[in-house]
């Protein structure tokens, strides 16, 4: 029996097509393979011409690469989506309440729900944020939660991504590409539109403007510059929102406000959607060598004269050690049970757990507490003896740096190959906007797909691809 057969296939198996995919499968059955091949090439040319690339740095030269796009959509029914969004909303509200609490009264620590050292020894915790409430009370203006599915009703949150989640441009561009390639599909099948996202993002950011904003709040996107791997997304979002794309050296503090250098002098910015990490935000407060930030912006921020999205210090809510407490955090702030499940997580900082992880290393996935992008992790079932032994040494040397999770049997969605459809593992990153008006989730998201058969690593930095994500209307 093929190992793949054990996984939940979202399209269906053994000739029985799951309901959300019925209409699509019907259409697909009438398509010619050569025709689809041609479309796949067209899509690649389209991405290249549009410059939808990310930068990769080798020793010698910067190279622009494409994230592979697969033309088979990932389809979610409206009912499934409703459940997901309810769970996400609950989780995101709890995260914001948690951040406010951590940076103010710290009741959750006093109540003993999570250990104090998890905050005190957390690199992402910023003392500069203590006793301060950001404009509108919002910490995580944009959230991109990673979700995996293992069965008909089994959705798990894998990561909360409350810092500066990326990938939303792919949600939008993948849909544009599909609309161009297969217009007839969208007239047959009712798919919820995601194209309002940039408009909603701008509104949501503007709704968090500080009190000093006069009239229509002025919004800017802060990018590290054209050599950043996600520069395309930064310019895309600024362009789609119709706001300025700024770099640190375009900004300075003028009369207690953050202002950008325009052709007619300095103009105030009210809301800064920053795609620069906390560490580089303000050389006067954080990393003194940073050329990417704005000297003095933290003073302006603490004086309440600019909104920074996401707020500095939100990383304290999304590392993998805090993640393991998320069910308790949700219970503590909402009084409700978590709707979305957490993946069972072993904290290696606890001796018993460490022993369990060492004993079962070959079956587990081990991640760094602050890691991201699929770097520095061990996928037990895919590792050889040597790699397992090396990793065990790392674990013993710095146990609190790691957590471990069971190897999840991620769902599959077929991709198009020259030989026809073939199942591959996927995850899902929906995007939520938070403002004083509430949490708003775009009906779609970024579906990442592991292109190597059997692989569970979907990160684009590790050779993963993307798919368009459809949420059906009925």
């Amino acid at each position: 029996m093929n190992k793949n057969d054990l996984h939940f296939s979202e399209m269906g198996r053994d000739g029985s097509v799951r309901r959300p995919y019925l209409q699509y499968e019907n259409w697909l059955a009438q398509q010619q393979n050569e025709q689809l091949s041609k479309k796949a090439n067209d899509a690649e040319a389209f991405f290249r011409q549009a410059g939808i690339t990310f930068n990769v740095y080798s020793d010698t030269d910067a190279e622009e690469r494409l994230i592979p796009f697969d033309l088979v959509p990932r389809i979610v029914s409206n009912r499934e989506w409703a459940k997901l969004t309810k769970g996400l909303e609950q989780r995101i509200r709890a995260i914001n309440a948690f951040l406010h609490d951590i940076y103010n009264r710290q009741e959750i620590l006093r109540a003993g729900v999570i250990p104090t050292e998890l905050i005190a020894q957390n690199d992402a915790f910023l003392p500069e944020m203590m006793d301060f409430t950001p404009p509108g009370g919002v910490y995580t203006h944009i959230v991109g939660t990673d979700i995996v599915r293992t069965g008909e009703d089994d959705f798990f949150v894998l990561e909360d991504n409350a810092r500066t989640p990326s990938g939303v441009s792919y949600m939008l561009e993948n849909r544009e590409t599909m609309l161009q390639m297969f217009p007839e599909l969208f007239s047959k099948i009712r798919v919820q539109s995601v194209s309002d996202y940039p408009k909603n993002l701008r509104r949501s950011l503007a709704a968090c403007a500080p009190a000093c904003a006069n009239g229509r709040p002025s919004v800017g996107v802060l990018t590290p510059g054209i050599f950043n791997s996600a520069y395309y997304e930064h310019s895309f979002l600024a362009d789609q929102m119709g706001v300025e794309l700024v770099e640190g050296h375009d900004l300075r503090v003028v009369d207690g406000r953050i202002a950008m250098r325009t052709t007619c002098g300095y103009k105030n910015i009210d809301v800064l959607y920053r795609r620069v990490d906390d560490e580089f935000l303000d050389p006067l407060t954080f990393n003194p060598n940073s050329m990417l930030g704005v000297p003095g912006i933290m003073d302006v921020y603490r004086a309440g004269n600019i909104t920074i999205a996401n707020a500095p210090g939100t990383g304290v809510a999304d590392d993998k050690a805090i993640y393991s407490y998320m069910p308790e955090i949700i219970q503590f702030y909402t009084g409700e049970r978590a709707i979305l499940k957490n993946v069972e997580t072993h904290r290696c900082s606890e001796p018993q757990s460490l022993q369990y992880v060492l004993d079962n290393l070959a079956d587990l996935v081990v991640k760094e507490v602050h890691g991201s992008g699929g770097y520095g992790m061990l996928v037990g079932p895919a590792a050889n003896k040597r790699e397992l032994a090396d990793f065990a040494d790392k674990l013993k040397a710095r146990p609190s740096n790691y957590i471990a999770q069971p190897t999840l049997s991620l769902s599959t969605v077929p991709i198009f190959t020259e030989k026809g459809l073939s199942p591959r593992h996927v995850d899902l990153r929906p995007f939520a906007l938070v403002s004083p008006n509430g949490v708003q989730i775009a009906p779609g998201g970024l579906t990442r797909v592991a292109l190597t058969p059997g692989s569970l690593v979907v990160n684009s930095s590790q050779g993963g691809g993307t798919k368009d994500t459809w949420v059906l209307e009925d």
Partner: protein, 313 residues
């Protein structure tokens, strides 16, 4: 608009114009190499001088043969003025100002970069040269077409045009400067074939040999060619035309921003130097000196525009 964005637009179009001008210069030089092999080296020498890269070239090569010059000007990544380098700069600047240009303009410059960077990766053979040069001009025309067809007529457009015309005016002035001796009326040269070839080459390097035939009576002589390049406002690469366009773009900016910047005054003064002038008075004052001071003024103007509109700080 951000000062940085204004600068990015300006340099994007300066670089693009530069690529096109270099292609024209090579085209004119290559024609001499094919038709008058005796004049080849002198012609390549003046092409290199016009491009202001003589020192760098001399360090690298011993002789001005066609292959050296062509590849130095087209593909050499170490030469910041090579077509490859300026196209890269145009495209990098376009990425920088991606939010200020339409998808069509972005797509045109990105497409130009993808096509030409691939072609210019290897040295260009004489067989491929005409095709590559045509490609450079065509791609540049596509970007310009997208600019004119899809962009709002606002400050963004003005900065693009400023970049184009400052670079173009600079290039035409340099061509005249390097070839000024051939443009001087001298009784001993009249109607000699040498001069005819020189004049034709000069006209070809601004793609105006055809226009020249239609504009006048088709007779080549020094004052007519010089008038055409300097004073004919109908000729899109003449100094008069370029300075008129620069004044117009700066005027639009002044109106749009409701401010009067020093650069507008400077541009108007530069424009006045061609107003109502007759070529004979320019010859009397000294063509070489005249063109030299024009080049200096263009440089100063470019610098002033950067200051006035806060490109850098």
């Amino acid at each position: 608009m951000l000062g940085k964005t204004a600068g990015g637009l300006y340099w994007m179009f300066r670089s693009l114009e530069r690529a096109e001008n270099t292609a024209r210069l090579i085209e004119a030089g290559f024609r001499i190499a094919l038709t008058r092999s005796n004049d080849t080296e002198a012609e390549w020498r003046s092409v290199i001088a016009t491009s202001a890269v003589q020192e760098m070239f001399d360090e690298k090569y011993q002789s001005y043969d066609s292959t050296n010059v062509i590849n130095f000007l087209l593909c050499d990544v170490a030469n910041p003025s090579s077509v490859y380098s300026v196209l890269k700069s145009a495209r990098d600047n376009a990425r920088l100002v991606r939010t200020a240009i339409t998808t069509e303009v972005w797509s045109a410059i990105n497409g130009a970069w993808m096509l030409l960077s691939d072609r210019l990766k290897k040295p260009i053979s004489e067989t491929d040269l005409p095709d590559v040069l045509a490609s450079i001009r065509m791609q540049s025309a596509l970007v310009r077409g997208a600019l004119y067809g899809t962009m709002m007529r606002n400050d963004i457009f003005d900065f693009c045009r400023l970049g184009t015309y400052i670079e173009r005016m600079n290039c035409t002035a340099r061509i005249i400067d390097v070839k000024y001796y051939s443009l001087l009326p001298s009784p001993s040269f009249v109607n000699s074939t040498i001069d005819n070839v020189q004049w034709e080459t000069v006209l070809r390097s601004v793609s105006a040999h055809r226009a020249f035939r239609w504009a006048g009576d088709g007779e080549y002589n020094a004052p007519e060619v010089a008038t055409f390049l300097i004073l004919d406002g109908r000729m899109p690469r003449s100094l008069t035309h370029c300075s008129t366009q620069i004044v117009a773009s700066l005027g639009f900016l002044a109106k749009e921003y409701d401010t009067h910047q020093p650069c507008l005054g400077m541009a108007e003064q530069l424009r006045t130097r061609f107003n109502g002038r007759d070529i004979s008075t320019i010859f009397e004052d000294g063509l070489h000196e005249f063109v030299n001071s024009v080049i200096a003024d263009i440089d100063k103007l470019g610098y002033q525009i950067e200051q006035d509109y806060r490109f850098n700080k």
